[in-house]
Structures are given as structure tokens and as C-alpha cells.
């Protein structure tokens, strides 16, 4: 009954599509093109700062994004018909990894990664023409209006209200409420918001997706300083803000569908493998000089775990390229990738020893002489404190485990 040995022998010649962990020649050529860009066209003044671990300015970030636009890579995740690159999953992975390895700042996701795909998927032609080119050229800085003071992980409970009015034949919404944890709202030209347009049904219904000009009267941005001392996130208050009805994406009441679509788009590359590899390599170098077997063991453990995360991402990639769909498994990458970023930053702090006591803030010793102690101490602490956010944002890691419970465990 099990005597199938001969069958296997005769089948040897049909071994098709064998496992192969290497990228194709085309992909390798693409990787080299990315590396060329990084050594020649990645703005030098930005590179110098990120190499030195100094927080970069708004202008630096704009220069970085404009350089990507110039190369035609801003639409890294967009289809060609909207001016994107149309890259395969492999190329997208390589692009992310190489930029991370080179220490580039993360590409701001709010325009190109989030609202852009929502606009080209659910927006009308006028909205596409009006917004998409400016996103690709980084002429507009977008921010995200999702979370509210009372709506964090339970996002659908949001209360910011938009009421449709008509004056002198002009349709517009009047928006009242507040958004919070709004990243870099202080720099933003536009905000995309989830607003409540109906209270009658279940909470997921009655949510709409609205684009709002940050210069509109009635918007107030107040900084929230995070525990690393930096001003990265804000509260945004809306008081009788008038928003033209033509800024509504898709249909009124369908905002939750668009929001979920957007979150699925946000997930790719969230493991941050390239950036973590860069941090790991720096840590290995630092720790090899310390002669401390405890730290050595910890850095080895992280190296093994990072390799496991990388190959897990490649497995998803391979499934995608073989026609599969990444399921809830991408939640694994969110959870483990962010835990890795945090663990690496914590090891920088541990490697600083007693110098972890001193903390000049997120901008380092810009304004006074650097005291004694390792160069990486201040940067390590600022990273450690700043990166606590990673397991909280983008659907907290506990929410990711709920997702996995539902879709993988089936409970």
C-alpha cells in the first residue's frame, strides 16, 4: 500500500520549480541600481546626519523624498497607470531592505503609502488628477486623521462629526471633533480623516473618508511631546471646519471599508528588516569591542531572530509571487518586526552601561560639548524611548494577536 518508492525514482526527472532562496538576475540588477542611487543620489547632507544618528529636519525629509521623486521611485507601491513603478513584490522588498540598510529615514507613508492608494482605488477622476501628482512629486505633505482621544484600538468608535450642508448651491461638510497621535501634523498640508456622518446603524457604518486642507479655518494643531522628548505627534482640533463635499472619497458611509483597505496596504514592509539589520550590524561592532559575554549572547539571539523574521517575510513574498495571497500571517511580521526594533534599541542602551544615565534629548549634543561616554549612548536612548510606539501603532501588537486568533486559530 505504501510501496511507492519506485514512483519517486521515476519522478526524479520531473523536479520542477525547485526551492531557491536567491533572487533572480533581474532582481539582483535592480538591487545594484538601488545601491547606485544610494551612493550617488541619496542627498549627502541627509546621509551625514543619519549616519551620525542626528535627528533630521523637515527640510531634510523633503529633500530625501524629492530625490526619490526625481528618480521616479516615489510611487514604489503604485501601479504604472497612476505614475507608480509597478514593481513586483520582490523588488518592493529589495527596495525597502536596501533603503533600510543604508540608514535612510523611513519613507513617509501617509501620502504615497496610505491616502494615495485609497484615492486611486476609490476616488473619482477629478480627485485623482488633483491629488495624485502632488503626492508623487512630494508637493503635498499628508497626515493621518484616524485615532481620537476616545478611539484607539477600537477605531470604529470614533466621534469626529461631519454634517452635510448646502449654502448658495455649494455642498460642504461641517466638521467638529478632534484627532490625536497625528504624526508630523505640524508639517502637513492636508489631512485624511475618518469622520462620522451617521449615528443610526452599527458603529462601522456611518463612517466616511474626508480629505481636509490643513489651512482651513477652525483647525488647531497642538504638539504632544513623547517620552523621548521629541515633537513628532500632535492633537488636531476641528471647530466648525468647512470642507467642500467634493473632498469626500467614494460614498458616504463607506469609510470603514476604505480604512481597512488602507491598513492592509500599510502592513507591507512593516517588519523593517533592512533598518533592523543596519542596527544589528552596528551593535555587533560595538559589542565585539566590549568583551561582555552576556551582551554577546543577546546580540547573537537577536541576529538569529532577525534572520527568522527576514525569511518569514521572504516566504510571504514567495507565496505572493506564486499567486497566493498574504493572509493574516502578515500580522506576524508586524509583531515580530516591531519587537525586534525595540529589542535592538534596548541593547544599545544596555551597551551604554552607566552612560545610559545621561540623556540630552532627541537632538543629541547639538548645543553643548559632548561629555564623556560612548557616542551611541544618546542615540540609543532616544531610539529606545521613541520606538516604544511601534508595538502600539498600526494596530497594536495585541490587536494583531486578536487578528491572528480569529483568522489563523479560528477562535
Amino acid at each position: 500500500m505504501y510501496n511507492e518508492a519506485l514512483f519517486y525514482q521515476s519522478n526524479l526527472i520531473y523536479k520542477e520549480k525547485n526551492m531557491d532562496i536567491n533572487f533572480s538576475k533581474e532582481d539582483i540588477a535592480f538591487r545594484d541600481e538601488v545601491r547606485d542611487w544610494l551612493s550617488n543620489d541619496y542627498p549627502k547632507h541627509v546621509k551625514e546626519k543619519t549616519d551620525a544618528g542626528i535627528t533630521i529636519s523637515k527640510e531634510d525629509l523633503i529633500d530625501f523624498h524629492k530625490a526619490l521623486s526625481k528618480k521616479g521611485w516615489m510611487g514604489y507601491n503604485w501601479p504604472v497607470e497612476y505614475g507608480g513603478t509597478g514593481w513586483s513584490a520582490s523588488k518592493l522588498y529589495i527596495f525597502n531592505k536596501e533603503l533600510g540598510l543604508a540608514g535612510c529615514p523611513p519613507i513617509l507613508p501617509f501620502g504615497v503609502g496610505m491616502v494615495g492608494p485609497v484615492i486611486y482605488t476609490f476616488g473619482n477622476d477629478e480627485q485623482k488628477e488633483r491629488f495624485l501628482p502632488d503626492i508623487l512629486n512630494f508637493n503635498t505633505w499628508w497626515c493621518q486623521g484616524y485615532s481620537e482621544p476616545g478611539s484607539g484600538s477600537d477605531l470604529a468608535s470614533l466621534k469626529t462629526k461631519a454634517v452635510l450642508r448646502n449654502d448658495l448651491d455649494e455642498d460642504y461638510y461641517v466638521v467638529n471633533g478632534s484627532k490625536t497621535w497625528t504624526t508630523l501634523a505640524q508639517n502637513a498640508d492636508w489631512i485624511f480623516c475618518l469622520v462620522r456622518t451617521d449615528n443610526s446603524g452599527i458603529k462601522q457604518e456611518g463612517i466616511s473618508f474626508l480629505l481636509i486642507d490643513m489651512k482651513s479655518p477652525g483647525i488647531e494643531v497642538k504638539p504632544i511631546i513623547t517620552i523621548d522628548g521629541d515633537h513628532e505627534v500632535n492633537s488636531v482640533f476641528f471647530t466648525d471646519v468647512k470642507v467642500p463635499a467634493k473632498n469626500l472619497i467614494g460614498e458616504e458611509g463607506k469609510g470603514w471599508t476604505y480604512a481597512k483597505f488602507l491598513l492592509a496596504h500599510e502592513r507591507f514592509g512593516i517588519a523593517g528588516v533592512g533598518a533592523s539589520m543596519r542596527q544589528l550590524n552596528r551593535l555587533k561592532e560595538i559589542i565585539s569591542k566590549l568583551d561582555n559575554s552576556d551582551l554577546q549572547k543577546k546580540v547573537n539571539e537577536l541576529e538569529v531572530a532577525l534572520s527568522a523574521i527576514e525569511i518569514t517575510e521572504l516566504r510571504l513574498l514567495s507565496a505572493l509571487e506564486n499567486g497566493g495571497h498574504p493572509g493574516a500571517e502578515s500580522s506576524i511580521l508586524k509583531i515580530k518586526g516591531t519587537e525586534m526594533q525595540q529589542a535592538l534599541s534596548e541593547l544599545f542602551v544596555e551597551a551604554s552601561g552607566e552612560y545610559a544615565l545621561m540623556y540630552p534629548g532627541p537632538h543629541g549634543y547639538e548645543n553643548n560639548d559632548k561629555p564623556a561616554g560612548p557616542d551611541y549612548a544618546a542615540e540609543g536612548l532616544s531610539g529606545f524611548l521613541n520606538l516604544r510606539k511601534t508595538s502600539i501603532y498600526g494596530g497594536s501588537n495585541e490587536i494583531q494577536k486578536n487578528i491572528l486568533s480569529k483568522f489563523v486559530l479560528g477562535v
Binding site: Y2, N3, E4, A5, L6, Y8, Q9, N11, L12, Y14, K15, E16, K17, N18, M19, D20, I21, N22, F23, S24, D27, S90, Q296, K297, N300, E301, E303, V304, A305, S307, A308, I309, E310, I311, T312, L314, R315, L317, S318, A319, E321, N322, E329, I332, I335, K336, E398, K401, N402, L404, S405, V408, L409, V411
Partner: protein, 363 residues
């Protein structure tokens, strides 16, 4: 890049799964564990009939010419079913070492392994020598007289032949001899996971040149590569165990009702099972990397097997401990399968260098 198994590999996995379901359930395994042999002749013959005992050998030696990928599939499935048959000692440790050697009688021995008519054990470990297998204290003198003691020889009690590592004037030698050669004494005992192993002493055992399989660098490379492949195999076994721990725990919590509902409804248990699932997937990723490196015989194959071994040593035990905890009292009952995964994980971590050792080797 393609990280999906090919059709043939998927069929092989299915075939092993079907076999384990119908011929090797937990009760059958219990019977074998309690028997005096620690393996089942009939099962071993079925292994031979299906070609599993010929899998890793080159086609010139009469094998199927399969590599580390197929071996990993086999061991993953063995891990799920907690198979205790001495495949590792006879086929992987002894068989592949012989196959890769230039030993003159290797074809005869491999043919016997393929047909299931011989058991051979590799005696590589010694007391007080740690994981340094390349410098054994067992000696072979210039007149080919063997002296020394080997420990933890897997399946030593059933072995008709023993392959022994020894030094001859500071040079590593690998020799093969009949287990009943005068001067050989064997003391056998059981392992934590239901297998058996032996302490074997060699007292003035007289051999000759024809007993030598390899010497010097050849011997060292042969031994290193064989142990590396065997390490990969038991890591695959661990990955199979981890997957089963997660599946069986999920199944159990879905059926077990307390406080008027299945306990799988409790979020605290759900998140722990999600962690088991994640760990099992990450271990699988490292397995894929390691087996492909071994398959390509890359310069980094030792490094990646060490990474995998250190990972499953830690997270495999963790998964098995969680499985026991989530099964409650059932988890600690000898008659339930779940606790046996924990014992398996202990034995896997102990073999060929534990998690801490491989974490050091890795860097």
C-alpha cells in the same frame, strides 16, 4: 526565488503523513517504547519498502539521491508523530557518513541499510569531551588496537556494527567494527524521549587496516558534515513537534469547556496560542534557510544550522511547555501524547550541542 516545496516534495510529505496516521499512532508508539527492542521490525521493514531507508544515499550507492530538503520533510513528519525508530542513528549518522566516504565496503553496508537488514550506530560522543567531537580520547594505536569509552551511542543496543571516532597519534580516525568483536562491552539505557542509547567500552579491541573508514582531514570533514546533517534533521523534527504542539493545543482548548464555554474563547489563552503559532512559523523559516544552505553545500551551512539549532532549542521547549500548561492536568499525564513532545524537545536540545552552545558557535 521560490520558497514553496515542489509537487514531488509535497507528495512525499503526504505519503509520510498518511503512513504515520494509519501505522504509527500514539498507542502503537507506546507499544514500541515498552518493547525490549525500542523499535519495531515490521515498521522498519515498511520504511524500507517505501524507500525511506534509501532516501539520502547517492544513486551510485543504490539510494534515491534525495537531499537535506527531503530528509527535513521526513523528520518534520516524524516529529509530529513522535516516531522513535532509529532512523537518525542508522540512516543519517551512520549511512550518510559511509556514503560520503571512500570506504571500500560501503556499498555492501548501504545496501543492507536500504533493505532494513542492518543497524549501525555512530559512536562520536565521550564523557568529559563536551561537544568537541573532533578530538576524541579513544585511541587507535599503531597496531590497530582500539581503547576507550563512548557514551550516548544512539540505538547502540541494536547495532550490529559500530562506527567509532578515535585518534591515532593525534590524527582523527573513523573506524567501523562488529559490535560483537572481543573487547567490546555495551551498557544500554533508555532516553527521555523513549529511544535507547548505550555506553560502549573498547578494551584492547584488535582491528586492522580494513576497519578504517577515513583518517585526518577527510575524517574530520566527514564527521563535521554528518553531524551537521543530523543536527538539521533533529531540528526539522523539532519544527514538526512545534507545529503539533500548537495544533493539538488549539484542538484541545476548542473542545474543553469550563465556566460554560470552550476555554479557547479566553483571550489570555488565544494570545498564548498565537505565540506558539508564531514561534512555529519562525522556526520553520530558519529550517528552510538552513536546509537550503546545506543542500547547496554553501560556506555558511554550519552557521545556519547553528542558528536553527539555537532557536528550536529555546522556542521549541517553550512551545512544548506552553502546550503542557494549556492542557492543564492532561498535559502532565503520561498517557496523553502532549507531554511527550516536551520530552522530545529536551532530547533534541541535548543532542549535538544545546541552544547556548550553538548560539556561541553561530557567531
Amino acid at each position: 526565488m521560490n520558497l514553496d516545496y515542489n509537487d514531488e516534495q509535497n507528495m512525499l510529505r503526504e505519503q509520510i503523513q498518511k503512513f504515520c496516521e494509519s501505522e504509527y499512532d500514539f498507542y502503537k508508539r507506546e507499544e514500541i517504547v515498552k518493547s525490549s527492542n525500542d523499535f519495531d521490525e515490521n515498521v522498519w521493514n515498511l520504511f524500507a519498502e517505501q524507500g525511506w531507508l534509501s532516501m539520502p544515499f547517492s544513486e551510485q550507492s543504490g539510494g534515491l539521491g534525495f537531499g537535506p530538503i527531503e530528509l527535513s520533510i521526513l523528520f518534520e513528519e516524524f516529529g509530529k508523530a513522535l516516531v522513535i525508530e532509529p532512523y537518525l542513528s542508522t540512516v543519517v549518522l551512520s549511512g550518510t557518513l559511509l556514503d560520503k566516504s571512500t570506504f571500500s565496503e560501503k556499498n555492501d553496508l548501504i545496501e543492507k541499510i536500504c533493505t532494513g537488514s542492518i543497524h549501525i550506530s555512530l559512536a562520536y560522543a565521550e564523557v568529559d569531551n563536551g561537544y568537541d567531537y573532533l578530538n576524541p580520547s579513544t585511541t587507535l594505536d599503531s597496531k590497530f588496537v582500539l581503547n576507550g569509552t563512548k557514551t550516548l551511542v544512539l540505538n547502540g543496543s541494536n547495532a550490529e556494527k559500530v562506527i567509532v571516532t578515535c585518534t591515532n597519534d593525534d590524527t582523527l580516525n573513523i573506524v567501523v567494527l562488529d559490535a560483537n568483536t572481543p573487547g567490546v562491552s555495551i551498557n544500554s539505557f533508555s532516553t527521555v524521549d523513549g529511544q535507547s542509547c548505550s555506553e560502549i567500552s573498547f578494551e584492547n579491541v584488535k582491528l586492522n587496516k580494513s576497519n578504517i573508514i577515513a583518517t585526518g582531514n577527510d575524517a574530520a570533514n566527514l564527521l563535521k558534515e554528518t553531524i551537521n546533517l543530523a543536527t538539521l534533521c533533529i531540528c526539522a523534527e523539532a519544527v514538526g513537534c512545534m507545529e503539533s504542539c500548537y495544533h493539538k493545543t488549539l484542538e484541545y482548548t476548542k473542545g474543553r469547556e469550563q465556566f460554560g464555554q470552550p476555554i479557547s474563547g479566553f483571550q489570555v489563552l488565544q494570545h498564548r496560542m498565537v505565540d506558539m503559532f508564531i514561534e512555529s512559523e519562525l522556526a520553520k523559516s530558519l529550517l528552510i534557510k538552513a536546509m537550503l544552505e546545506v543542500n547547496n553545500r554553501s560556506d555558511e551551512m554550519y552557521k545556519h544550522v547553528s542558528a536553527l539549532k539555537s532557536y528550536v532549542g529555546k522556542s521549541g521547549k517553550l512551545s512544548a511547555k506552553e502546550a503542557v500548561q494549556l492542557h492543564g492536568g492532561m498535559g502532565v499525564s503520561e498517557e496523553m501524547m502532549i507531554g511527550h513532545y516536551l520530552k522530545k524537545m529536551i532530547s533534541i536540545d541535548a543532542l549535538f550541542g544545546n541552544a547556548d552552545y550553538h548560539l556561541k558557535t553561530f557567531s
